[in-house]
């Protein structure tokens, strides 16, 4: 294991930011103490103590992303030239369009979205990193898996995740309920374990290795923001920065163990058993105000909406943005009919999607136990209570047993 001194974190980020965007958790000004992953620029403070309110899924599935731009172009020449006398179409003007045909000369130009650049996500937690792995199962990090969303894949490929291992947890954390808990390595490229005076660094992927091995032990050649004396860009000579990762014999620290939700085995069947027990779902959601925070903060919720936004009548963009299954509009049909008319229906779907459908279809539980939905819920709704009660209810005699 290599050792990274705590005081070298800033230098590490400095070096990383010379070739990538760096995003790191920071307390936001004027936000009443909200911590979010924000674009890090030299000199920015970090908050590695508090948990970010919103997950890091933004890195691969932005809140809103442009899929492409479009504009209406016109080739129609003036009719009746010279102006002043109405006349037949001048030479070269397309013949009068047939009834119902498009406007003469109109065409639509498509402009591709700018390609995503490289991003380093610093200070994610195991649950955040694992969530990326969970999303990969749907969006297709690798060929042949998922439906290969090109924008997602490009962002994912350009993303390096440096995870901060959790030595402590809070009562909302429940990652230990799922597989490896705080020891989860999936989704991370490099994991930093806090120890006295710094961190032990463990590379999980070649990306992580390259950070330790080469990439950041010297300043990047193309660093335009270099200080004088950092090295000669022409010669490619390495900058004379300090070596950040040193050999270390320190012992691995003990990771936190978070709350467990018992009885989750066979949850799919248990949820199926109470699917029709609408009273159960009503009781669970009666305090819910369907604000949608849980889905927006969640590292694994990934429902999106695609919509065209026009600027004026001539040009616009096709955008993809987050959507939330807790919204009434989510399944609203054009006819006005809504197959999930109440909160109870919608919450049932949310739970089932996370713990039944997604595991069935993608082989991963759509929850990593990060606890954001618990910490931030304005009405104090706790998904673990719902799971526990679902387990309990499914065991109850005669309650939808034949499902």
């Amino acid at each position: 294991m290599k050792f990274l001194a705590g005081e070298n974190i800033a230098e590490l980020l400095e070096r990383l930011s010379s070739r990538s965007e760096v995003w790191a958790p920071r307390e936001l000004r004027g936000s009443g103490g909200t911590v979010m992953f924000e674009r890090w620029r030299s000199g920015d403070p970090l908050d590695l103590e508090h948990f970010a309110s919103i997950s890091a899924k933004d890195m691969v599935l932005p809140r809103t992303e442009k899929l492409f731009g479009f504009s209406y172009a016109f080739g129609g020449a003036a009719v009746g030239n010279p102006f002043g006398t109405p006349a037949e179409p001048a030479a070269g003007t397309p013949a009068e369009p047939a009834a119902g045909a498009r406007t003469a000369g109109e065409s639509i130009r498509i402009t591709a979205a700018e390609p995503a650049g490289n991003v380093v996500l610093f200070g994610a937690r195991a649950c955040d990193a694992k969530a990326l792995d969970v999303l990969d199962a749907l969006f297709g990090q690798t060929e042949g898996k998922g439906y290969n969303d090109p924008q997602y894949r490009a962002r994912r490929a350009g993303l390096t995740v440096i995870t901060l291992a959790c030595l402590t947890s809070d009562p909302a954390c429940f990652c230990s309920s799922f597989e490896n808990g705080t020891a989860e390595k999936a989704g991370s490229d490099l994991i930093l374990y806090p120890v006295d005076g710094g961190f032990l660094a463990e590379a999980v992927t070649p990306k992580g290795e390259s950070i330790i091995e080469s990439g950041v032990n010297s300043r990047d050649k193309d660093d335009s923001a270099r200080e004088p004396g950092d090295g000669d860009p022409e010669t490619g000579e390495a900058a004379s920065g300090p070596t950040l990762f040193e050999e270390s014999g320190l012992e691995m620290p003990v990771l936190a163990v978070t709350a467990m939700v018992e009885g989750l085995e066979g949850l799919r069947q248990k949820l199926a058993a109470i699917f029709d027990d609408l009273e159960f779902w009503q009781a669970e959601t009666e305090k819910c105000i369907s604000c949608g925070y849980c889905t927006y903060a969640c590292p694994t919720c990934h429902c999106f909406n695609i919509h065209d936004e026009m600027r004026g009548d001539r040009e616009g963009e096709r955008l993809r943005s987050w959507d939330a299954c807790m919204f009434h509009l989510y399944t609203q049909e054009t006819s006005g009919h809504n197959p999930r008319p109440t909160l109870a229906h919608r919450y049932r779907n949310r739970i089932n999607h996370k713990f039944s459908y997604y595991p069935e279809n993608q082989g991963e539980i759509l929850c990593t136990g990060c606890g954001r939905c618990i910490r931030g819920c304005p009405v104090g709704l706790d998904i673990r209570d719902v799971l526990r009660q679902a387990v309990e209810a499914s065991a109850g005699p005669g309650e939808g047993g034949d499902r």
Binding site: G30, S31, G33, T34, M36, C291, Y293
Partner: protein, 338 residues
């Protein structure tokens, strides 16, 4: 606490359900609950973490007769809903809470002492992790200037017997207003905030008051840039009962796009401010619900003050009043002829 239980149990004789709180919400603090039987009501509590404005549920429960435990501030929402004919006074039984000593900002406790730290937030004292602390340090910002100690509408009163709220309000106004900072327009919003004297002891409202319009514009751009368009502000608002036809999300009319862009998020909040003119009771639930901590009440408080100055009107203080923007005064308007 047995008091609140028995009051709720009595009210249950007249209504289908009662909205109140239970002690067992996430993080170990009170969470909204509803009670339909006397047995269920046994779990009812009232303590200083019962911050939620339960009136938000009333428009969604129109088919039922509902009892509701309402603090003074919450009761204004109830009154406003009655005034707007959104709920029927006869179908709502209000258990007004009187004599509160201000509510506790649980988020602040969590931020300073860790999420889920054991909190015993009584009406008159506060214990964090078993140790008593000065509860004034942890009062919610909005409670500091409370003018609504007496519930506007109520059928029953629950005497919480907290410390006098006036003392709290006075204690809160210790910081003098900062002198103008003379900030240039070239500063970024963050710089503006720093220059305006940003630190823990100074409420954001003071910093905001010290900014000029350009600085505020930048300030809001930065604030709105982190909006995730979750609409929690709207959903948490008792007065936002348009629900799924809200013009923040419609294309007809298409006031704002659904993209995440500071400009669009700004328009979204401008819609909210506009729609709550003369209706906002200042309960602060929008700001409390905002997961990214946008200080939405800066605008709402400002507007409420302007409306009080212009029309002498405070929303939710009189269920019979004619709201100022739904009427006019041929001669009496303050506007001078231009």
């Amino acid at each position: 606490m047995s008091d609140i239980v028995s009051i709720i149990q009595r009210v249950l004789g007249e209504v289908d359900l009662v909205l109140g709180w239970t002690a067992t919400g996430a993080g170990g603090v009170a969470a909204p609950d509803r009670f339909q039987t006397a047995a269920e009501a046994e779990r009812a509590v009232f303590n200083a973490t019962c911050v939620h404005n339960l009136a938000v549920h009333l428009p969604r429960l129109k088919d039922k007769t509902v009892g509701i435990v309402a603090k003074g501030c919450d009761s204004r929402s109830v009154a406003q809903l009655i005034q707007e004919r959104e709920i029927d006074r006869d179908r709502v039984k209000v258990i007004g809470v009187h004599g509160l000593g201000g509510m506790i900002d649980v988020r602040k406790i969590w931020r300073l002492h860790g999420y889920g730290v054991p909190v015993d937030a009584r009406i008159d004292s506060l214990f964090i992790d078993g140790r008593e602390v000065d509860r004034k340090e942890y009062l919610r910002q909005k409670c500091l200037g409370c003018r609504d100690t007496v519930p506007v509408v109520h059928d029953k009163l629950f005497e919480a017997q907290g410390p006098p709220i006036t003392g709290i309000a006075e204690a809160a106004t210790v910081e003098a207003i900062l002198p103008g900072t003379g900030l240039g327009a070239s500063l970024t919003a963050a710089e503006a905030m720093s220059a305006a004297g940003e630190d823990e002891s100074r409420p954001l409202s003071e910093l905001f008051a010290n900014m000029n319009p350009t600085e505020r514009r930048l300030f809001w751009r930065e604030q709105y840039s982190r909006c995730i368009r979750c609409y929690a502000c709207r959903e948490a608002c008792p007065m936002c009962f348009c629900r799924d036809v809200c013009i923040m999300q419609t294309t007809d009319p298409h006031w704002t796009g659904a993209g995440v862009d500071a400009g669009e998020a700004e328009m979204m909040q401008l819609i909210r401010v506009n729609h709550l003119a003369g209706r906002c009771t200042g309960c602060g639930e929008c700001e409390r619900a905002c997961p990214v901590g946008i200080p939405l009440m800066l605008l709402m408080n400002e507007q409420n003050q302007v409306i009080e100055d212009l029309f002498g009107y405070r929303a939710g203080t009189d269920p019979e009043a004619r709201p100022p923007l739904l009427t006019f005064d041929i001669k009496g308007d303050s506007r001078s002829e231009k």
